[in-house]
């Protein structure tokens, strides 16, 4: 039993690992190819299967006028919009989640659960539904193609995630802790700030992580709502998807876009191992 079980387990884990890594390995290999190496059928190992070049990687630093893809500025735009959108969503979402978890709201037939569902239901809407109205609205306020406009949209995108995670989290934190803080002389804001918040860090980390993932990986809104000033990374990379797709620079750019979030994966794992997140995610 034991031996068979661990053999199967290691086999399964190894197989899945291969599946997870495979596209990255292929992308790494492809990023060193050129047109010839790509069109001659699948090749894998540089120097053995094909002659590696740095063409794909160089394209990342070149401007489009030299056939490059200039991803440095979009990269930092992405970082900024994701960070700002996540931060605002978490602040507002945490406050709202706290209210929904601790207080009772009644308005006609509407109860706390309905308000929570309203927040979460924003994620049900496919982006295409909102793209046009958003465009018209942002246009009216001259917020098209601005960081500000994009952040507004990201709030709609990310706040539901923050509310979802934080309501769950607060429901698991005994409310007696906040009550004690009130009894000990804190007004509700102080209680929130001095007692609830410091004890919600695991929840906030999880919410922040999810916001960052969903923000970083969004493509559609930034694609529709920006032109030249504020290009985000996925849009810049997809712009390589020309009628002649340069597989090599596309692969290199994809790898660059993945890199920062790999660090997030490390951080998440650390939190998991220390048990800090477990409570927050349950």
């Amino acid at each position: 039993m034991g031996l068979l079980y661990s053999t199967l387990k290691y086999l399964a884990v190894t197989l899945w690992s291969v599946f997870v890594i495979a596209p990255f390995l292929w992308a790494i290999s492809t990023s060193f190819k050129d047109f010839q190496s790509v069109t001659n059928g699948a090749t894998y190992i540089p120097w053995v299967d094909f002659e590696p070049t740095l063409e794909g990687w160089r394209a990342l630093w070149k401007s489009p006028a030299q056939g490059g893809v200039a991803i440095v500025e979009p990269f930092f735009n992405s970082v900024f919009v994701t960070a700002a959108g996540s931060a605002i969503s978490i602040v507002l979402g945490t406050l709202a989640a706290y209210a929904l978890s601790r207080f009772t709201f009644k308005a006609g037939p509407i109860r706390n659960g309905d308000i929570t569902f309203f927040f979460i239901s924003q994620r049900i809407m496919p982006p295409v539904v909102l793209a046009i109205p958003f465009f018209i609205m942002l246009g009216k306020f001259s917020l098209l193609d601005t960081l500000m406009g994009l952040i507004l949209v990201y709030i709609v995108l990310l706040m539901p995630i923050a509310v979802w995670i934080m309501v769950d989290f607060f429901n698991k934190v005994p409310r007696e802790i906040d009550e004690t803080a009130l009894i000990d002389g804190c007004n509700p804001y102080q209680a929130f700030y001095k007692v609830v918040l410091p004890n919600s860090i695991p929840g906030i980390v999880v919410a922040g992580m999810f916001c960052m993932i969903f923000g970083w990986t969004d493509f559609f809104f930034s694609f529709i709502l920006t032109f030249t000033e504020v290009q985000l990374l996925p849009v810049a990379i997809v712009a390589l998807n020309s009628s002649i797709t340069p597989w090599w620079s596309l692969s290199a750019a994809a790898l660059v876009s993945v890199a920062p979030l790999v660090f997030v994966a490390f951080i998440v794992e650390r939190f998991l191992s220390k048990g800090n997140l477990s409570g927050a995610l349950k």
Partner: protein, 288 residues
């Protein structure tokens, strides 16, 4: 607890969200009653004509819905089963535990639209590595251009991308399980399978339900993958609802009609999710 201060917590978020959304939603409702298209951009009033067309003369929309249900239920089911298995496997007693955990999380961190471009090269039927391998056996599966395999490929990419999400939630759930029930189970002499069925699974039911619902919501928007991988083809065999709405809206610029599609879609989805959530709760918490 109930203070007047409660509104100060709820309202900032709620009002910001409502403030940002009230125009888009209102506008979409109005748009759905107009014939706005590429040629006549304007909010004329044509009553519920778009809705009539949608319910009487748009088989493709309903087919897309059926396809969406199939794709999202299949992918989420696979993600759940695989994610749960992986979480159980790296839960305890495994070498390189941290390595595996980090590795299993990574796909979720990548941008779907970008990774799908990579996947398209992987599954490229004549230049990609997958068929290079199958060629060894004299086979040449058409991953993107046969009706059935294209669906399979879309599912495969979705599973790759989002299984980590399930994995993360479920692993975190496992790590926070109380120890007492396991002690009791081992005293009762329950084997690993019985322990799983009677202890682990019931304890994991609430988090499982949450994870499945959230994944279903996200999976129902499946768009980037189809957009890059197959454009809904071959034929319409991978065309899902949101992609169909995208085609009607941003390709053909039938804004009025696509607004009607969107709202109908939204209402159906909200009802479906409510029902699915109820069913899941019944199914999974039945033991307790």
């Amino acid at each position: 607890m109930n203070f007047k201060h409660k509104y100060m917590f709820l309202l900032p978020g709620l009002l910001v969200l409502l403030g940002i959304l009230i125009f888009p939603i209102g506008f979409t409702v109005r748009l759905s009653l107009s014939s706005w298209d590429s040629f006549y951009p304007g909010l004329d009033f044509i009553g519920i004509e778009n809705y009539i067309r949608l319910f009487t003369d748009d088989l493709r929309f309903w087919e897309a819905f059926g396809r969406l249900s199939m794709l999202s239920l299949t992918t989420v089911f696979l993600q759940y089963v695989i994610g749960f298995s992986l979480a159980l496997m790296v839960w305890k007693d495994i070498v390189f535990q941290r390595f595996f955990r980090v590795l299993f999380l990574i796909p979720m961190m990548t941008t779907p639209v970008i990774m799908t471009v990579i996947w398209r090269t992987v599954f490229h039927e004549s230049l990609g590595p997958v068929n290079d391998f199958f060629n060894l056996f004299g086979m040449n599966p058409l991953w993107l251009s046969s009706e059935i395999l294209a669906k399979f490929t879309v599912i495969l990419v979705e599973v790759w991308q989002w299984t980590p999400f399930m994995f993360l939630l479920l692993l975190a759930g496992l790590l926070s399980l109380p120890k007492e029930p396991y002690l009791a189970a081992s005293i009762d002499g329950a084997g690993p399978i019985r322990t799983f069925v009677y202890v682990t699974f019931p304890l994991m039911a609430p988090i499982s339900i949450g994870a499945i619902i959230i994944r279903l919501i996200e999976a129902s928007k499946i768009m980037d993958t189809v957009y890059v991988l197959t454009s809904g083809g071959p034929g319409t065999s991978t065309e899902t609802s949101s992609f169909y709405i995208f085609i009607k809206g941003l390709r053909e610029f039938q804004f009025g009609y696509s607004a009607a599609l969107s709202l109908t879609y939204l209402i159906i989805m909200i009802i479906s999710f409510t029902i699915i959530a109820k069913i899941l709760v019944k199914l999974m918490v039945r033991g307790n």
